[in-house]
Symmetry: D3
Subunit: 239 residues, 6 copies
């Protein structure tokens, strides 16, 4: 039924490459099917103005697509002079999600910025970015401990994200571009390894979605995110 010939609950293969670039404290290339996102975590020894002197750290994120990450070339945002609404919405989502993974008090007055740059897009770039950025974030936190910047690792928990949707009246998970462009409902969900919910953003693209459909999508998301966090930990050799 699905253009991808996957079963409704089947997510795409995921490949995680750590240390993808040399300079960043955490650098992860995450590939979810044909979607490829480079997530670079940078540590700064300061915090934004609104946090100065409060003994707390900050985690933030930026998101962009390379111009030809998509089928047709998109104009560079800098040429238009500003980030568009979709970009700002996505990077706010990534940043809020990552902050749920870290104890900001334990981070002290440091800022971690995770840049998520989409090299190639085939649906699910924001959820791939979150899943990959969390790994880069952990690498950066580990680097801070190893280099003596922090005594104790402020990581609270792993988080990961998946997209789910309603396609031909059926709930499916991890939509690729072909599926996403025809889905009736599109939903992005961020969860913890214990199944706690961090973010849920669902939109009825055509018509509306029912309570029953919502529950079906949540179940698919829960299942996929559990598996994604196992992949994250395997890549990080955490267990």
């Amino acid at each position: 039924m699905r253009p991808s010939h996957r079963s409704p609950e089947q997510h795409r293969d995921i490949t995680i490459t750590r240390h993808y670039t040399d300079h960043a404290e955490g650098s992860v290339l995450i590939e979810v099917g044909k979607t490829k996102v480079l997530c670079n975590a940078s540590v700064a020894m300061s915090v934004p103005r609104f946090l100065r002197g409060k003994g707390k750290g900050w985690v933030t994120a930026e998101y962009a697509m390379l111009p030809r990450a998509t089928h047709a070339r998109n104009q560079r945002e800098v040429v238009k002079g500003k980030q568009d609404g979709r970009t700002l919405e996505i990077q706010r989502l990534i940043a809020r999600s990552l902050r749920a993974a870290v104890n900001l008090k334990a981070l002290g007055e440091h800022t971690i910025t995770v840049d998520c740059d989409v090299i190639q897009a085939d649906g699910g770039t924001r959820t791939a970015a979150i899943t990959g950025a969390c790994i880069a974030l952990v690498d950066a936190l580990n680097w801070m401990v190893a280099s003596g910047k922090l005594k104790k690792n402020p990581l609270k928990q792993m988080i990961a994200a998946i997209s789910v949707g309603i396609y031909q009246d059926t709930a499916i998970c991890d939509l690729d571009y072909a599926e996403d462009s025809k889905a009736q409902t599109d939903m992005n969900i961020v969860m913890t390894e214990q199944g706690g919910m961090i973010e849920i953003q669902g939109t009825a693209e055509q018509g509306e979605f029912s309570h029953t459909q919502l529950l079906a999508m949540l179940a698919l998301a829960n299942n996929s995110i559990t598996q994604l966090i196992i992949e994250q930990k395997k890549a990080l050799e955490m267990e």
Copy 2:
């Protein structure tokens, strides 16, 4: 328990003033407690470039706060030179929600822009904007029929929105500013009069929220939105 002394399922009093200004085809001042939003719907006899020649109409929205709508004065966005991420995110949400109320094919090559300007803010400005904007949109559609621009009214259904959240581990609805600033989870929900879901956007501000808490919030939202749509129809003398 709530700072507002309301029960968990109790939303604030709502006042709807139609024809608030003279020029707009639909003009509604909606007051939800102390939150006041002016929603002006403007009809244009053209569509954005990406729709030209396709025989379809468009509904869009813009959102802004007056500088002193809030406790402290905010710098005008035009002085900063661009809309911030929160503003863009909100106006995209309002616009998507309103498009769910209209049959865009039946609208023909016209655009309706609903400007939602917050005169005073006390929490829930985006959901008040959606609920008020839907009424202004209906007034504009009625004006199009009455003035001969359209033969048949393209309204599909009423939609309304409410915020829900988790406050001291309890699900509550329609958070005011004092409640919102201390909530553990903050969620905005847009639904139709038949209980179909249009948008759901939930964020765990502290910790995470559970599946059970999500279900409790959804029940509160469903209950409030049913009542809001009765208020909308009463104001519009639709029944």
Copy 3:
């Protein structure tokens, strides 16, 4: 003769609503005929950089129109990325006028910003803004005294403004939109309660205006402003 059927020296009815919003230190809705402007005065405990450490205060103003304050919808200035020349010109005029009402040394190192947002426009928005903003400013000054921020009220005098013009070769006052769009000359005048002149800005829209016509317009302005200041004081219960 006038489209408004008013006599040349007759200005429109004026309605002043103080405390229109809750948050601002001074908040006035002024209605001059169908023109409605919300004037919110905000007090800040600092001054712009060029005044720091000089023991003087500052009064400034910003002006904007809601997109559908006018017959046809105007694009929001923030979408264009900057304020246009007319807006900047008007808010500079309002700010200079308000500074004539206040002893800036007695104000101390505080800034009062008066936001003038036009809810509905029917000609004379800048003069209505000045007349209303002066009342909001007085409320803010009174609040500063009442809350102990200042010992002595730095108000020097009331100021108010009116538009005058030449319509069909006759001097008239307080032009509405229909009159303004056909006037041969358009002039905005700001005066004190003692008849001193603060600002005069006159433009020949068609042809030129004569010295005699200028004198006729000045007389009309003087007469109207005297009455406007009586209205301001009545609203403020100053006498």
Copy 4:
């Protein structure tokens, strides 16, 4: 009494150099005392969008100061990304004034843009710009007739401008920087050769100005502008 040791009614020497640059259809360097403004009039064979197809022409103006035209260097406006309010206000004034000199219908669908760039500033740059720009405009109109673009010259009348003010309670004309920075009132006046008024913009910098003072300033302006128009015509060899 005046820092410049001039009598109240004495304006500064004026030097007009036509054909100052080679490319512009009209190119005038005007020197008023130490104030030097280069006024270049450019003819375009089209009109702005709002005038297309209406058989009318347009005259517009732009104004800028070179960064070191003043005592201290000013940052280039392009570096700040936009023109400031003062610049926009001045170029709107210049443009409106120049349009009073031309029959726009007789100009046909052409646009004349006069660029006024201040090479050196010593007070009165905007009035010098208007007086010089009018000459450049006439040269451009003459070029249009000579080159066959127009059959009949659309010039209606010469216009010129002067600043006047109140300095130590006395009305004076043509203030230089030292006088302007201490003046109690600052007024710019644009008039025709017949003494008709085109623009009047007066501001009380300290206190207010009286009706009597206004009349004294108007008389000085009338006297100076009559002489300036004689100088303009002499430079143009019009009589």
Copy 5:
């Protein structure tokens, strides 16, 4: 002598990966030592406005660095709202160089845009970009022929680029970051396979450079570029 322990004429190993991403008509990852640049060539069926209707095509380029391509994170240019001078200078250089490789008349009314995005920087990003972009350009031209957009391939010749410099008074080629930051002179050279010069841009960072030193640098560049073009052709299987 060199920090890289290379001999003066020794350039770094180069790795060329074609078809690095799926969507672009030409997609090349070029690695020159630790410098990695992704070059994506996109074909558009139109030309910029200044070329419309002239029967000629256009080749252009854009250049950017990912924020953490460098040792310390750079702010994204879109956040600053514009491209900085270095970026504009580099992308103009790349575009001019690529146009020397193509017969624009034979290209017809098509535009090829090559996006050069630096994934990791270690000196020589602009010359690596040119060398890689030329390969992506050839792939795009071949695609145009294969897909019937063009009958004849408009490629004129291969071009490639290298940096040379003076380090401790000696001419060296292909400077990495450590060498570049201490070089006395920094020069970028673009040449054809026949040894013709396309671009030369040299800057004395400290002191000046002599005619003799210039000749030494040119010889090194000629030698390296000959080898680079062999690598390009090998990758393209052109010979």
Copy 6:
């Protein structure tokens, strides 16, 4: 052969006017044929942030063209909101060149900004700007010594610039607009009075240029720059 009827090695007459404006510490109008550039050097008692506290000074430059410096009017860059690539490239070149003339340590924590504003353009504006700016810079340095800001003059050497090119297969120097627009190669060279090279920027506009042609252009540049520096010194009465 040349449109200008000059011999290949013949540069245009040069006129240098010092103290062209009153306010700048150095103010030079340089005329090279019909090209006229005003170079104003401004001294500031501070340095950019990246140099604070390092005991070193800074020399920078800005470049702009008046809108009608050219045959057709160019839109003002501030109206477009940003400087274009050509402008940024040129002012970076001017600034780097000027820094080669000054011992920045001996300059102390001062900044000299040289504004180069093109009054009229006929080819070679950037090289005229460099040659003129160097004189304005020397005047500013002399002013700093004369006014006691510096004890010792930090001037290291004079620098000057010339354009050379290949026109009809022959190397020529100092191209005017007519020559430049048809040249096969266009090169700008900055040198010291001792013949040391500071900057070389050459572009093959059509085809490529050979090593032999490069040597011919360098010889012409060397010859012209030697003469230009004699002119500079004569104007400065340095010898």
